[in-house]
């Protein structure tokens, strides 16, 4: 072992950008290795898009677009499900971070010379990877059933990117929840309570024009509607600007409020 000094060296100990990226990389690798060790944790990502697509297209598709016209609903609901996928995956971050704190390794991270935010960002990086897989399966499923792109591949990719960006901002909310609540079960319970009305009270599954006035009003301000409308317009054509800008505004707003809160909570958690 090298010689040890007890004198305080000069330098203020700030963590540079490159070091920060290296730390995030090492921590993301850890999260990925945990998934490898526990493949069951990928079930949601692998199966959810398949089950949801089949369920919505064949159960609701006939009712909404008429029997035998399910494929019309397909082009309506797949872009909507794109929005929903982000939300459901984001929820698992909350339960994951809560579980992490049961493990002493969090104490080790917090006594190391790394930015504390890097632990949370690494979590988000890996969840974005999971989300990308879910989106790929969802689109694969859609194409298999006859989804057609009326715009272009780059517009489709833009829709995917928008959904992922919005999903990342939601992750901060769920990280905050995960750090605040005592158990993973409680996180899941609260998340479901918030998610269900947001998902169904939106334009994801059915056109808001078919809803009563008060609900239609709610859907208009529901960010998930904005995202669903944006991704629908990006895939099927139509006016894009308003819904895309609204989604981006929500994304920035949610991140700006919840990310600092989550990092502060993480720093203070004992």
């Amino acid at each position: 072992m090298s010689a040890v000094t007890v004198d305080a060296p000069v330098g203020e100990g700030r963590i540079g950008v490159r070091a920060n990226l290296r730390h995030i990389g090492a921590l993301a690798r850890r999260n990925a290795l945990r998934i490898k060790q526990d493949p069951e944790s990928m079930f949601d990502v692998l199966l959810m898009p398949i089950i949801f697509t089949l369920l919505f297209v064949y159960v609701f598709g006939g009712a909404i677009s008429g029997k035998g016209h399910q494929h019309e609903y397909l082009n309506y609901v797949i872009p909507g499900l794109l929005a929903m996928m982000g939300m459901n995956i984001a929820m698992s971050v909350g339960t994951g971070i809560n579980d992490d704190f049961k493990n002493g390794v969090m104490d080790r991270f917090r006594t190391m010379p790394i930015a504390r935010s890097s632990v949370l960002i690494a979590k988000i990086v890996v969840e974005m990877g999971r989300m990308l897989i879910a989106v790929a399966i969802l689109l694969g499923m859609g194409f298999l059933l006859g989804l057609t792109i009326h715009t272009s591949v780059s517009m489709l990719l833009a829709a995917v990117a928008l959904a992922m960006l919005f999903g990342a901002s939601l992750m901060w909310i769920f990280i905050l929840l995960g750090l605040t609540m005592k158990t993973a079960q409680a996180v899941q319970g609260v998340a479901m309570l918030v998610l269900m009305p947001l998902q169904f009270g939106s334009s994801i599954f059915a056109p808001p024009s078919t809803m009563p006035g008060w609900l239609e009003g709610f859907t208009k301000y529901n960010p998930l509607s904005n995202l669903a409308d944006a991704s629908r317009a990006l895939v099927n054509g139509g006016a894009v600007a308003h819904s895309v800008w609204m989604t981006l505004a929500w994304t920035v707003g949610i991140t700006a409020v919840t990310a600092p809160l989550a990092v502060a909570k993480f720093r203070k958690k004992t």
Binding site: V4, H23, L27, G104, R108, T270
Partner: protein, 335 residues
């Protein structure tokens, strides 16, 4: 009882950890109630105390996990409150609960720590393998830590703490919950680290552990330091070890007791208890028994338990009123 403590000359007297008037309250409970202590560079300070005495709170403050309510603490010159980032560069922490990722293999755990400490990929791999080798974990390097035994996990935890060559190492009850054999393994590792020059703050509930590893000792009770000093000084205060001798012929108990003035025979168990204050005295007692031609069936040394240490220390402080022991139960909740 051999003592493998290393008496240091180089750097002795320079203070690596300096704690002054440290206070931490949890509601009504005073987890730390004005603690002062110093750990000299290259030495091991044992912090001895029961559950709830404030030992873990101290370690958590010194490792920047929680902030103190009052007082100050400096580690390797850095202030725990004002310079947490710099401070984290020079410390290593091994907690009561192994802080490794149990889903990752031993090697991946150490590699990750190396990368977080800004080693290059190659260097992090090299250092991980070096540590695995040193802590006898090479065979288990690829298995997830979940499959490790308690002792292996604790060793992996120690290895993780050592990756960055920390100047100051905190060991928070490193052998609590381990069986005696595993405990000895951990002790050996700690002794090696100290021989390599590490400064260690060790918390423990066991007098035996403190005696094995520490140069100096601070005794905590209910968030306060109730005694401190060199281990031998403190031992002298509490009466040190007791030598228990069992004669082959119980009838010789009285004759043996006459020969050793400071001894007390216990006819019920046919054991002669001799208070021992130094290794020399131990040798002398055995020598005299041998010279006297006594046949001995069994011999063992007994260290004072934490309870006996407390009795001895707080007994001397009996003049101070309102030292009711009942209050410590309350503090166990904060531990």
């Amino acid at each position: 009882m051999t003592s493998s403590k290393v008496t240091r000359t180089a750097g002795a007297g320079r203070v690596a950890v300096e704690v002054r008037g440290l206070v931490k309250h949890y509601g009504e409970t005073r987890a730390l109630d004005g603690v002062d202590l110093d750990v000299r560079q290259g030495t091991v300070l044992g912090v001895l105390g029961p559950n709830g005495a404030g030992k873990t709170t101290l370690v958590r403050i010194l490792s920047t996990l929680i902030a103190p309510d009052a007082g100050s603490a400096r580690v390797a010159g850095y202030d725990v409150v004002a310079q947490p980032r710099q401070l984290r560069r020079v410390i290593g922490l091994t907690g009561q609960y192994a802080s490794v990722d149990d889903k990752l293999s031993g090697r991946e755990n150490l590699y990750m720590i190396g990368r977080l400490l800004d080693l290059s990929r190659k260097e992090a791999r090299r250092r991980a393998d070096e540590m695995l080798e040193r802590f006898s974990l090479t065979d288990a390097a690829k298995r997830p830590a979940l499959q490790y035994s308690g002792g292996m996990r604790r060793r992996l935890d120690l290895a993780a703490s050592m990756i960055g060559h920390p100047a100051v190492l905190y060991l928070d009850e490193p052998t609590t919950g381990l069986d005696p054999r595993t405990r000895n393994e951990v002790w050996e590792e700690v002794q090696r680290m100290v021989a390599d020059g590490a400064t260690v703050l060790l918390t423990t509930q066991y007098m035996e552990e403190a005696e094995q590893l520490a140069n100096e000792l601070t005794v905590f009770d209910r968030g306060r330091v109730i005694a401190s000093g060199r281990v031998d000084e403190l031992k002298a205060k509490v009466g040190g070890r007791t030598l228990q001798i069992r004669p082959a012929d119980p009838g010789q108990l009285a004759a043996m007791a006459r020969m050793l003035p400071q001894s007390t025979p216990d006819p019920e168990t046919s054991v002669l208890n001799v208070a021992i204050r130094s290794d020399e005295q131990l040798t002398e007692v055995i020598g005299r028994l041998g010279a006297g031609g006594f046949a001995i069936a069994g011999i063992s040394t007994h260290l004072p338990s934490l309870d006996e240490v407390f009795l001895a220390i707080t007994g001397q402080k009996a003049s101070v009123p309102a030292q009711d022991r009942g209050a410590s139960e309350l503090e166990e909740m904060v531990a």
